[in-house]
């Protein structure tokens, strides 16, 4: 079930009513209801993979208790290793089996050895990358004694399958979300209203911005050989907004939905395109994943301790693993590699914690320096997005090469029968909305709140894409 579908429009109010008016008597009922609703939500897409979530839940629940009960360090380690092996094994099989087989064969063939092996027809279960990381964080935190293991299977199962964030995050830490399942939720008006506003803003990001960008992006990337420089540049810019609004839109709807049920999820995006350097960008982009990698991979590897070489090694490892997390394609790995490269000068100059505040805080406009920094960071992000979007690395290099060789800056009429100018106007409005509310979670605040809500509803109706329904991009990860 997609957040931007009619089914969800019926499902969510129904859930809300049942949750607050029927099963609100006690905690057990609330959690059991969330579990049933979450399995229904996921099963709507493909019920066969419910078994996988249930399996993962039971395994990590049991291993969490086993880790906690073990008095011997080596036994604790063994249980943690089993959890890692099972979770990463499932993820590896469903997501990377064909990729590794193909890459292996290609490597052998390129060395002159003829090798044939067949790949399997594997369907990628939606959300596997997200809930696997979530359950991993649980067993690791129990092992590190940061968290008491859950003694209630229903609570734990509801935490793993919690439908607002099950299929595309935010990747919640057990330390934040699991305790919320141990307390009876009481309706909080302010929380629920902010939830509805976030859902509205998320829908706007997805249906108006991301889905409007999609045909432009497809048209330009699919025909990049014949496009001029301006169109190629705009193609990368459109994709930057498409992927941002698609994923941030999803995250906002997820956080908003959770708030309607009395839960607080972590923020996943914090206006990343207003970042002044790449370090700031990564503190604002897909925050739940970048902090996950920081806590469970970067720091255990040594983090920023040790020599510069060790630090650089760690940076390259986490960015490239993060790239691979996104999908079984070398383009994603290269995308991570590029981000690591962009990070190198910041790390070498010890400037990775230079921009911790919101840009131009308390001011209407940024300074010229800040503007230049933001544009440069956005440019770097766009270059990397070309690799993320292209079908293969060679095509991405070709795309970038054509930006310089097809040197024409005439506005082209695209084969989707649209001019770029229309899309640029929509993006400009969106950027203005974001800029003037960059210190808020969403724009629906202040005394003009209702005017802003009305304008967004109007844009949803008139500019929203409903006929050509686009799935959320991050579902594929």
């Amino acid at each position: 079930m997609f957040f931007n579908s009619i089914e969800f429009l019926i499902f969510l109010p129904l859930c809300f009513i049942l949750y607050w008016f029927v099963v609100n008597r006690n905690l057990k009922l609330q959690n059991a209801f969330i579990l049933v609703a979450s399995y229904f939500f996921y099963g709507w897409w493909d019920y066969r993979f419910l078994g996988l979530i249930a399996f993962s839940t039971v395994i990590d629940y049991s291993l969490g208790i086993a880790i906690s009960k073990s008095q011997i360090k080596s036994r604790k380690k063994l249980f943690l290793f089993i959890s890692l092996a099972i979770n990463l094994g499932l993820l590896g099989f469903f997501k990377y089996f064909n990729f590794f087989v193909d890459s292996w064969i290609e490597a052998f063939n390129s060395l002159g050895y003829e090798m044939h092996a067949s790949t399997l027809n594997i369907i990628l279960p939606v959300g596997i990358s997200f809930y696997t990381f979530q359950t991993l964080s649980y067993t690791i935190d129990v092992y590190r004694e940061k968290l008491e293991p859950s003694k209630n299977l229903i609570n734990f199962a509801a935490y793993v399958a919690f439908f607002p964030q099950l299929v595309a995050g935010p990747i919640e830490r057990a330390t934040n979300l699991l305790p919320q399942f141990s307390k009876k939720r009481v309706f909080n008006e302010e929380q629920a209203i902010s939830g509805v506003n976030l859902i509205l803003w998320g829908l706007f990001q997805k249906v108006v911005i991301a889905d409007s960008c999609a045909p432009y992006v497809n048209s330009i990337f699919n025909n990049y050989e014949s496009m001029n420089s301006l169109s190629l540049i705009l193609g990368a810019v459109y994709f930057a907004f498409q992927i941002y609004c698609d994923f941030a839109g999803y995250s906002n709807i997820a956080i908003g939905t959770a708030r309607l049920l009395g839960f607080d999820l972590m923020r996943n995006f914090n206006y990343p395109y207003f970042s002044r350097d790449m370090a700031e960008f990564w503190r604002r982009w897909h925050i739940s994943l970048s902090t996950w990698f920081r806590d469970y991979l970067y720091i255990p590897l040594g983090g920023s301790r040790g020599s510069k070489w060790m630090q650089l090694r760690n940076v390259f490892i986490i960015f490239m693993v993060s790239g691979l997390w996104h999908g079984a394609n070398w383009t994603f790995v290269f995308w991570g590699f590029l981000h690591a490269l962009f990070f190198v000068p910041i790390l070498l100059l010890n400037r990775n914690r230079n921009n911790l505040d919101q840009v131009a805080k308390g001011k209407l406009l940024p300074s010229f320096k800040e503007m230049g920094q933001m544009l440069f960071t956005f440019l770097l992000a766009c270059i990397a997005w070309v690799f993320f979007r292209a079908p293969n690395i060679a095509a991405a290099f070709d795309y970038l090469k054509n930006v310089f060789t097809e040197a024409s800056f005439k506005i082209e009429y695209l084969n989707i029968e649209r001019y770029n100018i229309e899309m640029l106007l929509i993006l400009f409005i969106f950027v203005m909305y974001e800029w003037f509310h960059r210190e808020e979670e969403h724009p629906f605040t202040g005394k003009w709140k209702w005017i802003k809500i009305a304008s967004v509803i109007l844009m949803l109706l008139t500019l929203g894409v409903y006929s050509n329904h686009q799935d959320f991009i991050y579902f594929q990860f």
Binding site: V196, W450, A454, I457, L461, V465
Partner: protein
């Protein structure tokens, strides 16, 4: 809870007012402005007598340049073919044209493997949606009923078919509905290409709606002519069209008529150069 429901109620109220206002606005724009596109032309504009009427899909729309026929014959010729349309679409279009007062002497129908499709195409149905109730369109043998949501939920039909009736189309309807912008007849393809389409497979020889079109022409005392437009020289198995001769009297098979691939935009469509040559061939063969 009270404040929350108040918030939700205001949102629903805003949404409701928005859809009602926009629905009326869009209705006004699409129903009361001058026609844009062939279907709107058939619905909104009073029709006159046509000597040569061409109906079909892109293999007519891109192939028959009526200006050449009119110059050669001194008679009125109209190409009402619409890219991607089916025979049911062509039948409905003919009925709509007649409903608006059209009379005709000669009707030309192009036959190709889309004979197997008896359904109305989704895009044609979508194009009709705003007009069905307002113009009280009813056509024998064709179900044009709107879904309950399309009929009763304000603005739903415009949101559902936003690729046809979105805000962009709304502006175009208002400001780009002159002949300068609207393709109302022959739509040429200007590029040259010749991608091999492979082999034509057997297809149904009869179609319920070509039969209904035939009946319609007989009732209107008009002559009906059948032909198949050319394919590129690489297309295999064009002999399958020969079977059509027994079902469609006077049928002419042009499927492998041209051996020059520079006449083609792709294997199933001629370009402008090809269309000029082909239209002249039609004039000659049908004695127009």
């Amino acid at each position: 809870m009270k404040g929350f429901f108040k918030h939700i109620s205001i949102l629903i109220l805003m949404l409701s007012i928005g859809v009602v206002i926009l629905n009326n606005l869009y209705d006004n724009v699409f129903l009361n402005t001058s026609p844009r596109g062939k279907l709107q032309l058939a619905i909104k504009q009073e029709q006159e007598h046509i000597d040569y009427l061409f109906l079909g899909n892109s293999r007519v729309e891109n192939y028959i340049d009526c200006s050449i026929i009119e110059a050669a014959s001194g008679k009125i010729c109209k190409n009402y073919a619409m890219s991607g349309s089916s025979y049911q679409d062509a039948y409905v279009l003919l009925k709509l044209l007649k409903r608006s007062g059209l009379t005709y002497d000669n009707l030309f129908i192009q036959l190709d493997p889309s004979l197997k499709n008896e359904a109305m195409t989704e895009s044609f149905r979508a194009s009709l949606v705003p007009f069905v109730n307002s113009y009280e369109i009813q056509i024998d043998h064709v179900a044009l009923n709107l879904s309950p949501a399309e009929d009763h939920l304000p603005f739903y039909k415009y949101a559902k078919y936003d690729y046809l009736y979105g805000v962009r189309a709304c502006f175009a309807q208002l400001y780009k509905n002159t002949s300068e912008y609207v393709e109302l007849g022959y739509v040429p393809q200007y590029h040259t290409g010749n991608s091999n389409f492979g082999m034509l497979e057997d297809f149904a020889l009869k179609n319920r709606f070509t039969e209904l079109i035939k009946e319609e022409a007989v009732n209107d005392k008009a002559k009906i002519h059948f032909f198949t437009s050319p394919y590129c020289p690489d297309m295999d198995n064009t002999v399958v069209f020969n079977k059509l001769t027994s079902f469609y009297p006077g049928y002419i098979n042009y499927s492998s008529f041209y051996k020059e691939s520079h006449y083609f935009a792709n294997c199933t469509h001629m370009n402008d150069k090809g269309a000029q040559v082909f239209t002249k061939q039609i004039i000659k063969d049908f004695n127009l």
